[in-house]
Symmetry: C2
Subunit: 210 residues, 2 copies
Amino acid sequence: MRKLKDARRPEILDATLEIVAERGLDAISMRSVAQRLGLTPMALYGYFRSKEELLDAVLGRLLTEVPLPPEGAPWREVLTHLAYGMRAVAQRHPTVLPLVLTRPGISPGALRLIDRIYQALLTAGVPPGEVPRLERSLSTFVIGHVLSEVSGRFSLGTLDPSARRAQLPPEELPGHDALAAVLDGPVDSEAEFRANLDDVFVMVESRVAR
Amino acid sequence: MRKLKDARRPEILDATLEIVAERGLDAISMRSVAQRLGLTPMALYGYFRSKEELLDAVLGRLLTEVPLPPEGAPWREVLTHLAYGMRAVAQRHPTVLPLVLTRPGISPGALRLIDRIYQALLTAGVPPGEVPRLERSLSTFVIGHVLSEVSGRFSLGTLDPSARRAQLPPEELPGHDALAAVLDGPVDSEAEFRANLDDVFVMVESRVAR
DNA sequence: ACCTGAACACCGTTCAAGT
DNA sequence: ACCTGAACACCGTTCAAGT
C-alpha cells in the first residue's frame, strides 16, 4: 500500500467540484478531472487510490463548507443554523449530494458538525444514551429532505399531479381523492423545510427528561 | 418517439434484480442484463429507452413488493406496517435503494403506498393541508434511515469510533468527549428503527388538531 | 415484430518506463 | 518525486440491416 502525496489534493478537489457544477456527477471521470488539470489520468492515482476515494474526499470537502454555528448558541439556533448551512451547501453542489447519505461521515469536517449536534442535544437536556441515535436521526432527516429537494424526488417528474393519479382508478386511491383540493398546488419547499425543522424540535423535546 | 414493447419487461426487470443481488448496483449494465437473457444489448432498447428508464422501472417494481397494510387498520399500525415493509424490501435489495431517494415516486406502486399514508394521517386527525408535507417528511425519514442502514452511513466505515475521534484534537470535540462512555457501543439498528418510529408518531400527534 | 452486428466515443485501472 | 504512454477489459448508444 504505497503512500499518497497530498500537495495537490485541494487543487484536484477544486477541479472535481467545477466539473460537477458544470456537467453533473456523472461527468466526473478520472480522465475529465485529469484533463482539467492538464494531467494524465494516471497522475491522479498518486493522490487518490481510486475514483471512490476521490469522491469520498470531495464529500469531506463539502462538509467543510457548512459554517459552524456560534459557540454557546441555544440548541434550537444551533440545529437551525446547521440545517440551513447543509441546505445551502446542497444547493451549491446539488449533484454531489447522494454521496452524503451513502458514505459514513468519518472525515474531520463531518466529525466537527456531529460534535456540535451532540452538544446542542446535551444542553437541550436529552439523556446522553439517546443523543447519538437522535443525532443520526436528525441528520438523516435533514439530509434526506435536502437530497429529495435537490434531486427531484419532491418535484413533479414527468407527470403533473392529476395525470399521475390517473395511472390508477380513483377507487384505489381514496386518500388522493380526499386531498384533491390540496394536492394540485405547488410545493413551497422553503416553508416545508421550516415546518420539518419544527418537527425536529418536537422530536428533541419529546426526548428531554422531564 | 417510438412505441415500446412490454411483453418481456418483467423478465428483464427480474434479470436486472438478479444481477444487483449477486454483484451490486454497479454491475448493472445494458450488456450484463442482455447477456443474462441471452440477448444483444441492443434488444433491450426495444423495451426501455435508456438505462435510466430501466432503472426507474426497477424502482417501480421494488415498491410493488412492499406489502399493503390491512384495510381499515389503525393509523399507527399502518405506518408501522409500511415502514417495516419498506425496510424488508431494502434488505432484500440493498444496492438498488439509492434510487428510491433520488427519483420521484410516480409509479403506480409508489402511488398506492402514498395513498395508504394519506389515509392513515387523515384518520389520525392531521389537517388535510398538512398531510402531503407530512407524508413526504415521514417517507424521507424512513427511506433515509433504511438507506443509511443498508449503505453503511451508520456503520463504522474503515475507522473504529476512537480512531475516528483521534483525527481531531479532543478540545475540538467536547460533545464526543462528554459522550465517550456511550459512543463505543455497537448500534442496535432494530432498536434504533423502533425508536425512530416512535418519533414519527410524536411528529404526527403534534400536528393533530386538538 | 423483434433482434443482431459493427461502430463510436467513452470508462477505471495496471504496468513499465521516463525525467 | 512526480508524471506519462500504451494497453486491457469494460461502458451506453446510434444506425443500418437481417429474419
